[in-house]
């Protein structure tokens, strides 16, 4: 098919082989979980439990009255040991509820299959999704209920399910699609109902033929659900690029997918929606890929939210080389961590443990203006100039050149033969521009 690609991008080493064929394993309940009260885009939650309370799986432990937020639920049963600051994958400390397991894994009474699913109207569906604390599982952790309600005057005509999984190393979505295609399709149907769209397209990179065929088998009888094979190119899974590749619609600068009538959700989110609506279970666990040169047994794991990375490393057989760099997420957009004592959150799609020379950044050489970053930029920006202007503190020029359009995919830094920290510079520029705007 002629569609299925976009301008720019790059071809990082995919390195997915280590976990590609590994089925998703569920881990035994951890002894302790640390559940941050702020795992999503929007307002942080306030704890609704107290230290010493007994909690059960699925019990709400944090909530907020803000418009944009997502409630937090306990992922294991046990006792609330503390509500305190704890390191998180953002690099900063944040308020977290620490639960010590009673090792029973008791489910909360509220969790039971819903019997009136067919009678639910869109508003009710969206309400269920909100209460279940579902956020985008691709990484940005944007509350899903908010995405599904179009702002006034706009509407959706198409729902895209993102199964591209273009980040190197990661295979969590891939395994999910191969192992649970029914859940994906069911989730898609529920999302169709919630948004009222008649068309769902599941976009999958062509390097996952097993996922494509598995989903095709399930979806072929379903009306309105299509599978689209996509070019194998990073960042195929970026929202704007995905919409362009599948629908040839261009999200305007500064706009959202809804501006072109599209809503995009991760395949993992679809599964979470199904679990929430059909089984009545809130978002308390997710699939992550644990991989990298440093880990002894790379795996795809189903883990409770709040499980500490150090525990997960144990489960995967520990490290086989001194750990030099710990990345939460994929190697292109993931965040490097300074400690292993951080919990898995709703947005954690993978844990990457790297060692040796591969993690040491090379010295920055002068820009030779090769233009490879311009060719690689999927947003058609000028990364080399943006970084220059940022360094010269010429933020007006950064803005003029579209710094705010940058999706921080990392293609420019990846490709730069002079090892310039382009994305880092552009990110600084974006922060400064936003700060100046807010300052008036």
């Amino acid at each position: 098919m002629a569609l299925g690609t976009f301008k720019g991008g790059g071809h990082p080493c995919y390195n997915k082989d280590a976990t590609l064929g590994k089925p998703i394993e569920s881990i035994s309940l951890p002894e302790k979980v640390v559940i941050p009260l702020h795992q999503h885009t929007g307002a942080p939650c306030k704890p609704v439990v107290n230290v010493g309370d007994e909690v059960k799986i699925g019990q709400k432990i944090g909530d907020s009255d803000a418009t944009l937020t997502a409630p937090i639920h306990a992922s294991i049963s046990g006792k609330v040991k503390a509500i305190t600051e704890h390191p998180q994958s953002t690099g900063m400390d944040g308020m977290s509820v620490i639960i010590e397991s009673d090792s029973f894994g008791t489910l909360d009474e509220s969790i039971r299959p819903r019997d009136n699913v067919d009678r639910l109207n869109p508003e009710e569906l969206i309400g269920i999704i909100k209460e279940a604390g579902i956020v985008g599982l691709g990484g940005a952790a944007f509350p899903t209920y908010f995405k599904l309600s179009p702002p006034k005057g706009k509407s959706f005509d198409c729902l895209l399910l993102n199964g591209a999984e273009c980040e190197p190393y990661l295979s969590a979505d891939h395994r999910l699609m191969v192992e649970r295609p029914n859940d994906v399709v069911d989730g898609a149907k529920l999302l169709m109902k919630a948004t009222g769209v008649k068309r769902v397209i599941i976009g999958i990179e062509n390097n996952k033929p097993d996922a494509i065929s598995a989903l095709n088998k399930v979806a072929k009888d379903e009306e309105g659900i299509e599978i689209a094979g996509l070019d194998v190119k990073y960042p195929q899974g970026a929202e704007k690029q995905l919409i362009w590749a599948i629908l040839r619609r261009e999200v305007p600068s500064g706009g959202l997918p809804v501006d072109v009538g599209v809503v995009v959700n991760n395949v993992g989110t679809a599964v979470a929606v199904k679990e929430a609506v059909i089984h009545g279970s809130p978002l308390v666990r997710r699939v992550i890929t644990v991989t990298g040169s440093c880990i002894r047994e790379p795996k795809n794991l189903m883990v409770p939210i709040g499980t500490l990375v150090s525990d997960i490393i144990e489960i995967c057989g520990g490290t086989q080389a001194p750990l030099k760099k710990l990345v939460v997420g994929g190697p292109m957009m993931g965040i490097a961590q300074h400690t292993t004592e951080i919990p898995v959150t709703k947005g954690t799609s993978g844990i990457l443990l790297l060692s040796g020379e591969e993690v040491v950044l090379k010295d920055v050489l002068p820009c030779i203006r090769c233009g490879k970053c311009i060719e690689a930029c999927p947003m058609n920006l000028m990364p080399l100039w943006l970084a220059d202007y940022e360094e010269a503190s010429r933020f007006d020029d950064c803005e003029r050149l579209g710094a705010l359009d940058c999706i921080e995919c990392g293609c420019c830094s990846f490709i730069c033969p002079s090892h310039r920290r382009l994305v880092e510079g552009i990110r600084l520029a974006k922060a400064e521009i936003v700060a100046r705007r807010n300052a008036g």
Binding site: V327, M333, T339, D405, V423, R427
Partner: protein, 317 residues
């Protein structure tokens, strides 16, 4: 490195293996066929010139950096590339000391004063050549044929001192294609053999270091204009420094536009200037000056050929 502590850096955490020194050494490698052709046709003297230019370029760069207390970066091969390119665009019989002067001028004035690698406005090798041509025109316009007799035109001793373009321009004599293609003609050390240059260019394209925009728009424009003026386009493509210039000089990252549209505009500009200088200019050859003039225009071209941002809303006219 302290053990136990993790390394933290901004994303991404994975990088391409291609680095500046690799690109530069690839360029050096791609120029090897042209060097061999030059040495084959013009003898060991050509080899001496290549060695002298490369050597003096590298030494000049190291010396200047040392004097100014900057880190010495000759290991990125960029000075070597400049020296080699300069050697390839001078006549084989140029006195070695003249070549060395050119090399020193290239590195010191055209590159170092502007802040070194990546900051030069003009292609240093071409500045070196333009400097030599303006300074020692007599040496720089003395040519030699690889074979002392030109069997296809016996008795015309002027051919021993004229390049095919000079023969064409002033004497209306056309050198056969096969000689041009293999490079058995008078000219600079590295520009005569079309096939050697094309081999190197193909390698660079295969490695993804040069795109098609600049060379093709450059050569295409020359073909169109020479044809329009009733000349033989193929002859103009094969003669002089056009191929070497289009594939190795005009594509110089630092001095050519970075924007895709800008590259095409730049190539067309080079092509127009080469064709006009060859047809009406004072010099028989215009590649060097055409590229230098477009180098001067690079910054301006970039300004007006910014790519359209993805998602940028078109303004209503």
């Amino acid at each position: 490195m302290e053990s136990g502590k993790l390394i933290v850096s901004s994303s991404p955490h994975q990088f391409t293996a291609i680095s500046t020194p690799i690109i530069m050494s690839d360029v050096l490698f791609a120029l090897m066929p042209a060097c061999f052709a030059g040495v084959w046709f013009f003898g060991l003297r050509a080899l001496g010139m290549i060695a002298a230019c490369v050597g003096s370029a590298v030494v000049t760069e190291a010396l200047l950096q040392k004097l100014c207390g900057k880190p010495i970066t000759v290991s990125d091969y960029s000075a070597a590339v400049t020296g080699l390119l300069l050697a390839l665009v001078v006549p084989p019989d140029l006195p070695i000391w003249v070549g060395v002067f050119g090399s020193v001028f290239s590195i010191s004035i055209a590159k170092f004063t502007f802040g070194g690698l990546g900051h030069n406005i003009f292609n240093p090798a071409l500045i070196g050549r333009a400097f030599l041509l303006a300074s020692w025109p007599v040496f720089m316009t003395k040519w030699r044929w690889p074979i002392q007799e030109a069997p296809w035109m016996p008795g015309f001793d002027a051919v021993t001192t004229a390049t095919p373009l000079v023969l064409m321009k002033h004497f209306n004599v056309k050198v056969p294609y096969n000689m041009l293609f293999f490079g058995k003609v008078a000219g600079t050390i590295g520009e005569t053999s079309a096939i050697a240059i094309l081999l190197g260019a193909a390698y660079l394209m295969y490695r993804g270091h040069i795109g098609i925009r600049i060379p093709f728009s450059f050569i295409g424009t020359v073909v169109v204009i020479t044809a329009l003026f009733g000349q033989d386009p193929l002859f103009h493509v094969l003669t002089g420094g056009l191929l070497l210039g289009a594939f190795f000089m005009a594509t110089d990252y630092v001095t050519s536009p970075v924007t895709p549209k800008g590259k095409v505009a730049y190539g067309i500009g080079c092509g127009v200037l080469v064709a006009l200088i060859r047809l009406y200019g004072g010099y028989p050859e215009g590649v060097c000056y055409a590229i230098l003039i477009m180098n001067a225009a690079t910054a301006l071209i970039e300004r007006y050929t910014l790519p359209r941002k993805f998602g940028e809303v078109k303004k209503l006219a």
